[in-house]
């Protein structure tokens, strides 16, 4: 058990900050990112005894984080629909009212555009643009082919460009 705790604490040290930024971009709220991050690490702790090392630890940790984040967003979307509310409007409201945002108006528009992307496109865009993961890394994490990821990224980029003439997407 002590050994597992050491591994877990190593994962916390190595990945918590980086995963926070990923989750924060995805959910567009510090509070939600904080809550979700705890769920992610609880899941990592619970699943750690079954980690067999077939995947790299890095890939495994990211896979849990991205799956949990997508599940969270999917549930939010369904719950919003059940309340007859628009999740897009809710996400936009979060970006508008984010007290931990100090970027330019163009950056805010980018975040708003991002929040409106379908979850998987948003995920690929965040992982590539902000997390700066390679397509190969994203592919190993998500189980999606590099070709499909490039297509998703391209579509996301085009959608964001429609709203953002100032966005300099160089990737």
């Amino acid at each position: 058990m002590k050994e597992l705790e050491q591994v877990f604490n190593g994962i916390v040290k190595e990945y918590s900050e980086r995963l926070y930024w990923h989750v924060r971009r995805m959910v567009a709220s510090h509070e939600d990112a904080d809550d979700l991050l705890q769920e992610i690490f609880l899941k990592i702790w619970t699943a750690l005894p079954s980690f067999r090392g077939e995947a790299q630890l890095y890939t495994w940790v990211w896979r849990i984080a991205t799956n949990e984040t997508l599940n969270h967003l999917r549930k939010e979307r369904v719950r919003a629909a059940l309340r007859m509310q628009s999740i897009d409007a809710e996400m936009e409201r979060r970006v508008e009212g984010d007290p931990y945002f100090n970027g330019t108006e163009a950056q805010r528009e980018l975040m708003k555009g991002l929040a409106k992307l379908p979850e998987k496109q948003r995920q690929v865009f965040v992982m590539r643009w902000w997390d700066e993961l390679s397509y190969e890394e994203i592919s190993a994490i998500t189980g999606t082919s590099v070709g499909a990821l490039k297509a998703s990224y391209h579509i996301a980029q085009e959608k964001l460009k429609l709203n953002l003439s100032t966005l300099e997407v160089s990737k």
Binding site: M1, L4, E5, F8, N9, V12, K13, S16, E17, Y20, R24, R25, H30, D34, L37, Q38, F41, L42, K43, W45, T46, A47, S50, F51, W60, R63, I64, N67, E68, N71, R74, K75, R77, V78, R79, A81, L82, M84, D98, Y100, F101, N102, G103, T104, A106, Q107, R108, M111, E119, W129, W130, T166, L167, E168
Partner: protein, 124 residues
Amino acid sequence: MTKKNDIFVPEGYFQNLEQKLSRIPQQEVRPTTLQKVSPWIAYAASLVILATVGGFLFRKAAEPVLQEEYSWDYLSYLSRSLDPDGMLEQVETTDLTSEDIVNFLLADNVSVELLAEANYEENY
């Protein structure tokens, strides 16, 4: 424009976060009430949806003309997803919108909270 430094965190957040997360192994992980009853909620939701879809199909079969908003394809698709996970999957992977599903459920007075609250777990 730069792509970073547009969002930030409260001061000292990451130090606290690391400490908070490192305490997870010491916490006794107790299933929440919702988690305990989740399989039963899913089961109940499946039965409700089965009954709803079945009833809907029966009533539709008695009607001479199908209403445009509920085609047979739509109904047969719904009938293959008799659990909350399936419903959620549909929302994500098909052209059906969550509103389509909600409208369908609401039209038949289904307690849709069951669907919303049903948790599901990923295995890693």
